[in-house]
Symmetry: C2
Subunit: 160 residues, 2 copies
DNA sequence: CCTACAAGTTAACCTTGGCTAAAATATTAG
DNA sequence: CTAATATTTTAGCCAAGGTTAACTTGTAGG
């Protein structure tokens, strides 16, 4: 029995609780896995962009400190970012973003900002909002982002 | 210069945009990495609990289909779940949750439901809400969950 | 100028979470 | 009961993202 639709399921137990069909359900997990793949890259370029803008320079040391990892890890990840054409740098020198990297950083930063502002508008404390936004940002679709942005604006309008 | 607080930063460019201090910033990423570690485990136990409840049985085949991975992958992950004391099973037979596994499944399911309902209450379409909830659920703190739940109830009250 | 220290890189290792292919075990049909 | 089919497990592979330790390169001070 490969198909689970013709089963002797205790249907009395479920209701609105039912899962979507297998293939559709699988796509959800696939989407999450895909998000995971780019997550770290996005965090890096976002952070690099920020450092470039606010410190004038993006150094491995600072990235390591901010990401909470060792410099060796940064070095390895940067190698990957370079291979992907997101970052450029000369050996032992500080980092720069390619156009592609900048584009990704801008997108990522915008999404991050939308989620963060939304959480604050909802009433979440600053500390928590920051942590949650960091984790959530990569999993929020455009549709939801639009709705969040609308909500935030609505809240701001009211409190002014 | 290890400390980045005494820098010649172009401060005119920032504002509300400033990053938190390095150590605090690092904690955010650490939190996300920690969440990632348990994410998959939670998804598995949640799914197993669901299958047990709705199909009466949790089989590797179904899990593989629902998660969108190969059976070999399921087998390997289940080994890990068993080592962690979340799942029990005899070789070549279907799976069960330990008490610990059931507790985790219940928590995870509740969180999932809160996030999903919240997104729907916000006005996100069902399809998108499902996908986003799947990705977001592991990154939403208790504080935010409480606020989401309150919001959802508020919405439901209004539309009745 | 050269020496010490800071910063970046490399090497060797680990775990997780995927995969395919092949082997072992159940189940079902004839 | 046995043969075909379905399911589960195992083995061997890979990439990502961590680690520490050792090495290289850059930068300041004396």
């Amino acid at each position: 029995m490969t198909d689970s639709s013709n089963d002797v399921t205790p249907d009395r137990l479920c209701k609105a609780d039912a899962l979507p069909p297998s293939d559709q359900h699988a796509q959800q997990y696939v989407a999450v896995r895909n998000a995971h793949e780019t997550e770290l890259l996005e965090d890096y370029v976002e952070l690099i962009a920020h450092l470039l803008k606010h410190q004038g320079e993006a150094r491995s040391t600072d990235i390591a400190a901010r990401m909470g990892v060792s410099q060796a890890t940064v070095s390895k990840t940067v190698t990957r970012l370079k291979a992907l054409g997101l970052v450029s740098s000369k050996p032992y020198r500080s980092l720069f973003l390619t156009e592609k990297g900048e584009a990704m950083a801008a997108m990522s930063h915008q999404r991050h900002a939308i989620v963060l502002q939304f959480l604050r508008a909802l009433g979440v404390s600053d500390r928590t909002a920051r942590i949650d936004a960091e984790g959530m940002e990569h999993h929020v679709s455009q549709e939801t982002l639009d709705i969040m942005q609308r909500y935030t604006r609505e809240q701001e309008r009211r409190s002014s």
